[in-house]
Each structure stands twice: as structure tokens, then as C-alpha cells.
């Protein structure tokens, strides 16, 4: 029954044949190889039958030949629906275009609002947002991860404490919190300089205040290096605030200066003799897919790149119609090429690596102006293919930190 398949797409017509002995008409159809079906005798001279749209012309030819009367009862199928639509073509096209337009506009960023910061800061943030691709008139799904943008801008702009980006339909609201520098105001409040860590003083440069220690002196953590109290009897009354106030000769100042001292650190590191680490080569491939529920259809770049090791990043961006989230989304898959570097090192190399590692670790904790003068391995063991090191560092750094003086009020 092959000819009865896909009837909806082919379309068929139900018609009546009227005339004497309709069988002759049907026989003629048979002879011409026109498939007809669902034939019903209605009256002695009338039959109902169905025929494919494409055979309508042949049926009409036979009618002309034999002189029967044909009338149409019903039409069915896609071709008829389409031809009906054709009459209303402008309307249909217009409707389709308007839906498309609304859809496109729903997925565009219309506004980026920056709130909570000064105009100057607003400009800076806007500049950054532009660089990360969050600006007016851009497709929503082309924006990278919002969390990343937030984090990057917060890191890049020193004067910003925090940035939050919120998506509200086609508007992005960027909220910023500026760092307020309170130190400036307190510039003149009295303060001491105290030792942050214990150490041996190497150099001192005191701008204001009375130095309490001298070069080559050992200081403990919390010792006052430069006092903010100048005047008579200061050495006696250092810790006694009440008495100081009564003494007219004494003055409170904002002690300033640097105290460079030698300090010591020990750190422990382990370095394996065999190592393996991964680096990205910089080669990458972007694949886009249209996601529908759990399914996804490839849109762009179907073929997987020829990388031996890969790091895959996935991002999903939903599509919108007005404010409605559609069940469709754009999936972006970034495939990075990865290199795995494997190797072995000798014990000597491992020790060097260990020292470097410890230094890097140490530099995170000390001032960037600090200098490491000496490193010495105190203890070194080799077990389970790992070198364990105990390293001693001598560092020259500024150990002076301010400590406000509270005057009893």
C-alpha cells in the first residue's frame, strides 16, 4: 500500500463521479494506472472516490474523454494548506518576521546599568565591561561567563572592592562597591611603629617619631620601634597613657618611617623526582550547539579537533522570548589543546626546584620589597621518590607596622 503513505504531504482529493455506469470511468483509471481508493457507490449513477493531487489532471483528462461529471467534495493535505496560506502570504510572512524580530531583540543586551559608584569609576568599569564583551547591542549568548567577568574586573580595578552583575531580562545591572580610603583621614592620628615579626635591625629611617631601638638590636614581635610620643619622660611612660596626658611636655605624633630588619623563616617542601604537569598549548576550538532539553544539535564546527589531550570548557546560555526562558539554549564548548609534560629529575635538580618553590611560597607572605639574602638547607631526606627539604631563609624586610595610640577620652 505504498501509494497510501505520506498522504498528508502529498495531498488528496475526494471527488464524485456522476454518469451512467461509473465503473467504466473507474476501469479507465485502472488502465491509466491512476491509484484511486475508498470508492463508494452512492447512487446507481454516482460514485465517491479519492485520488492523489498529482493525478488530478489525469482524472480530468479521462472525464473529458468519457464525458462524466466530476465534482469535488473535499481536499486534504499539506499542499492545500500551503496554497491557502499563499493567499495570506503577507500576513504569514509578517507574523513570522515579527516573531523572529521579537526573538532576536529578546536576546540582545539593551542596557548595561552601572550603579553605586562615582562617575569616574563608572567610566572605568564600563571600559572593562566593554573589553569583556558586555555592552549594549550584543547577543546575550555571546557573553562569556558572568562570574568570570565579575572576578576579573574586581581583580583588575584596584579601587573597586566588589562588583556584582545581575541579569534582568535584557538589562544588565552592574553593582560596584568602591574602596574608600580611610587612611588619609587618619594620617595625623598618633601612632607607634611596632615590629611585625622578630628580627635583627639592619637599617632605620625614621621620618617622625622617636626611635626606641638601634641598629643591630634584636627585637621581638610587638616591640615598639618608633614611638609616637615625643617629649620629656617618654621612655618612662611608654605604656602608661594616663600619665602622659598630664605631662605638658609630651606630644603625640604620627610616627612614620621604615625599619629594615633581618628576619628568619624556615619552610618545608617536598619535590617528587618524577613529575607530570599539564600545560595548554594555546590551540583551541570553539563548538556551538543548540540544546533542546537533554538533546543538542550541532550548529557550528561539528568535527572534533585533532588534539591528543584536551581540556574542555562548557558554557550554556539560555535563549529568551521576551522574558520567557525558552527550552532552547546555546551550548558553547571550548576545547583547548593540552600538553602533558612528563619527566624525571635528578636529586640535585629536585633540590634546586625545592628551593625555588619555597622561595615563591615565601614571597607570597612577605613584602614585595623584601630581599631574600640567604637560603640554606637545614635538612634533606629522600624517601618514596620524593625529596623532602627543610630550608632556612634570611630575609631583609621592613618590619614596621603602625599601631594607633589610644588617648583616653
Amino acid at each position: 500500500m505504498k501509494f497510501k503513505q505520506g498522504l498528508f504531504f502529498k495531498g488528496y482529493i475526494t471527488f464524485y463521479v456522476e454518469g451512467k455506469r461509473p465503473e467504466i470511468f473507474l476501469n479507465k483509471c485502472l488502465a491509466e494506472n491512476i491509484p484511486i481508493w475508498d470508492i463508494r457507490r452512492i447512487k446507481s449513477d454516482k460514485c465517491e472516490a479519492k485520488v492523489h493531487l498529482k493525478h488530478l489532471r489525469d482524472v480530468k483528462k479521462i472525464r473529458r474523454m468519457l464525458g462524466y461529471k466530476i465534482s469535488f467534495k473535499d481536499k486534504f493535505g499539506l499542499p492545500f494548506i500551503l496554497s491557502k496560506l499563499k493567499i495570506k502570504k503577507p500576513l504569514v510572512v509578517g507574523l513570522f518576521l515579527s516573531i523572529l524580530l521579537v526573538f532576536i531583540l529578546s536576546n540582545i543586551v539593551w542596557q548595561v546599568k552601572i550603579v553605586g559608584v562615582s562617575p569616574e569609576m563608572e567610566y572605568k568599569i564600563e571600559e572593562r565591561l566593554d573589553a569583556y564583551g558586555l555592552k549594549k547591542g550584543i547577543f546575550k549568548f555571546s557573553i562569556g561567563s558572568i562570574d568570570d567577568i565579575e572576578r576579573n574586573i574586581t581583580n583588575e580595578l584596584k579601587d573597586v572592592m566588589w562588583i556584582g552583575i545581575e541579569e534582568k531580562g535584557t538589562t544588565y545591572v552592574v553593582q560596584g562597591v568602591e574602596k574608600t580610603i580611610a587612611d588619609k583621614e587618619q594620617d595625623n592620628t598618633p601612632q607607634h611603629l611596632v615590629a611585625r615579626v622578630e628580627g635583627n635591625i639592619v637599617r632605620m629611617l625614621v621620618e617622625t617619631g622617636a626611635p626606641q631601638v638601634s641598629v643591630d638590636q634584636f627585637v621581638n614581635k610587638g616591640d615598639i620601634l618608633v614611638s609616637g610620643i615625643i617629649g620629656q619622660d617618654q621612655s618612662d611612660n611608654e605604656d602608661d597613657d594616663d600619665e602622659k596626658e598630664q605631662d605638658g611636655n609630651q606630644q603625640y605624633v604620627h610616627a612614620e618611617g621604615t625599619v629594615i630588619a633581618e628576619t628568619w623563616y624556615t619552610s618545608e617542601t617536598t619535590v617528587p623526582l618524577t613529575y607530570q604537569h599539564e600545560t595548554l598549548t594555546g590551540e583551541q576550538d570553539n563548538q556551538y550547539r543548540l540544546g533542546i532539553g537533554n538533546l543538542s544539535l550541532p550548529i557550528w564546527d561539528i568535527f572534533a579537533p585533532d588534539y591528543s589531550h584536551t581540556l574542555v570548557e562548557k558554557e550554556e546560555k539560555p535563549l529568551y522570548f521576551l522574558n520567557m526562558k525558552l527550552p532552547f539554549s546555546i551550548l558553547k564548548k571550548t576545547i583547548h589543546e593540552k600538553d602533558i609534560i612528563k619527566g624525571e629529575r635528578t636529586e640535585k635538580k629536585a633540590i634546586q626546584e625545592g628551593i625555588e618553590q619555597a622561595k615563591r611560597e615565601l614571597k607570597k607572605h612577605i613584602d614585595f620589597e623584601a630581599k631574600i639574602i640567604e637560603e640554606r638547607i637545614l635538612h634533606q631526606t629522600l624517601e618514596n621518590g620524593k625529596v623532602k627539604l627543610n630550608i632556612y631563609f634570611r630575609v631583609q624586610e621592613n618590619i614596621a607596622v603602625p599601631q594607633p595610640i589610644y588617648q583616653g577620652e
Partner: protein, 93 residues
């Protein structure tokens, strides 16, 4: 000539064990209960009413009697009749 051809065909059918309806163009009628009848190898429709269908065969006619006949399909090689079939009758010329 025709007779000789017929004998030849009969011999072929016998030797190769072929179904007769293929070579002799005999009607092949399959009925499913009283509901459907598939008629193959027909030579045309003579009469078609709700109660009776008369089909021309190579030799003679086949008549179907029943009620509410509808021709579900009409092709050169087969006809499918739907309705309530009461009888199938072979008529000689």
C-alpha cells in the same frame, strides 16, 4: 499455437514447482473473514455497487456478494474490497 503455449507453461509450472497464478494469470483471492477480500490478477471492474462486485478475469468472471462494499484500493494488479462478504462466485463466460 496458443494451445501449445499453454501446454508449455503447464510443463514449466510442473517442472519448476511454480505457483500457478503467476504464469496462468489466475485470480488469487484472499479473504480475511468476511471483512476484506484481496483480489489479484483481475482484468477490470464490470459492476460495482454496495451489494455486488463483478470482476473480469482472464477467463470468466468473479462475483462477490455482500453488503456495504467499499473499494479500499483499486490498482491494476489488485483490488481490496471492504464490507461484509457473503459469497464469492466464479462465473464462466
Amino acid at each position: 499455437m496458443n494451445k501449445w503455449q499453454g501446454r508449455m507453461k503447464q510443463w514449466v509450472v510442473k517442472q519448476f514447482n511454480l505457483p500457478e497464478d503467476v504464469l496462468f494469470e489466475l485470480p488469487r483471492i484472499t479473504t480475511i473473514g468476511q471483512l476484506h477480500a484481496y483480489i489479484e490478477n483481475h482484468k477490470g471492474l464490470v459492476t460495482f455497487t454496495e451489494k455486488e462486485i463483478l470482476l473480469k478475469m482472464k477467463k470468466g468472471y468473479v462475483r462477490l456478494r455482500g453488503e456495504n462494499f467499499v473499494l479500499k484500493t483499486m490498482l491494476q494488479e489488485e483490488i481490496i474490497v471492504e464490507g461484509k462478504i457473503r459469497e464469492v462466485q466464479y462465473l464462466d463466460e
